[in-house]
Symmetry: C2
DNA sequence: GATAGTATAATTGTATACAATAATAAGAGT
DNA sequence: ACTCTTATTATTGTATACAATTATACTATC
């Protein structure tokens, strides 16, 4: 197995499989068989099964007689996801503007600065990483587990489609600029501005993502 | 163990625990220990563990050294849930209006009629059941797994707080009337009307639920 | 050659055994 | 009596063994 950040094997297996499904490494329709995963990762069936049950709960896989069928995220799913995000991101950002602390603001700024740095290096993998982190932080700083649990999974599921956007230099640059506007609104503790900024960002993101 | 609708023991354990947490049978902060559940339900640890991992994935419980702490749904969670629903239900209903089939419409009407029947009998448990089914059907008929997976968990989590609403005769009657308006809009395949009707219903539901 | 029925093998579902870890209790020293 | 250390116990994490189910392959019959 790979990394050891998350203690249990079951957690590691889950993250590995989730990532491989969301990145498209496992194709839609592919059948996952417990023992194959066990052999690939060198663990027993117990942690693999627990990971699979969690993936099932997230509708990333579904039962299929023998094995589990990979569902992944279709282009139609993507459209729905972006429609939901258009309706929710503003609320999350407005709440974050009302509640964000100075330390949290600092963490957000560091993420933003890093994203700008990677932009100058044309390092799209890290740009994408910082992009995801920025949004995850906004969800977190909205200080609502409901918002976090609802929006983070939606955001994660866009991952595979976001790749193209981020590899487009011009879009990546605009995206970082939009993040900065969001950050400024949060720093000013201005809920309305934050809502408007993130709505604009989400609309642009939708446009570019759906084109692909 | 109880019923046998869902084949595997793991599924049954999950539904039982989820229901007991959402209904408040397990108090917030309570510690769940695997073996106790095993003894209560007469099954081994394997299905119990799989159920617990799924509950964790839904943030209904969280790690706590020994055992899992029951999180349940707080009054603050409830406010967030209703805010998110206010922003999403309209989209779900509008989509359903565009896509609902005649059979689906019939199923929805049967649910609505049953709810009215139980209303005359003052059978609040069944009223609640039909209320939940009505909304679940709307999510389903929106024909988007993203909508379904996002809204159904939010709706489920209101369960415990909806009880009071439904036991209030006047509110229960108004709620059924609002359902009827939603149904009529769907039957007319009128997305805008459906959106307006469900928004109105959700606003009223929020008012009454938050009072409690 | 097609089809139904049966045997075989592969896969999942469940229980249990073992290992590792963390909490609690007991005991020694001050 | 208090605190630190150590032993014990309880609980979770992981692997494996067994049971039940379901798909696949084979054979017999038409």
């Amino acid at each position: 197995m790979l990394e050891h950040k998350n203690h249990t094997l079951a957690d590691q297996v889950f993250e590995r499989l989730e990532s491989d499904i969301l990145s498209g490494k496992y194709a839609r329709g592919e059948i996952l068989v417990e023992m194959e995963i066990c052999q690939d990762l060198g663990v027993s069936r117990t942690p693999v099964r627990e990971a699979l049950r969690r993936l099932q709960q997230e509708h990333l896989v579904e039962e299929h007689g023998k094995g589990l069928k990979v569902l992944g995220v279709t282009h139609e799913d993507l459209e729905d996801i972006m429609e939901l995000r258009l309706r929710l991101e503003g609320y999350a950002a407005a709440r974050a503007a009302e509640r964000i602390t100075d330390e949290q603001l600092k963490e957000l700024k560091e993420t933003l600065d890093l994203q700008e740095f990677y932009l100058t290096k044309h390092d799209s993998d890290h740009i994408k990483g910082m992009d995801s982190k920025f949004h995850e932080l906004v969800y977190k700083f909205s200080d609502s587990v409901v918002i976090y649990d609802t929006l983070l999974p939606l955001h994660k599921k866009v991952q595979r489609y976001r790749k193209r956007s981020v590899e487009n230099d011009s879009r990546a640059a605009h995206s970082v600029e939009e993040h900065r506007v969001i950050y400024e609104a949060l720093a000013a503790r201005d809920p309305k501005a934050a809502e408007a900024a993130i709505l604009n960002h989400t609309q642009n993101a939708k446009k570019h993502i759906m084109k692909g």
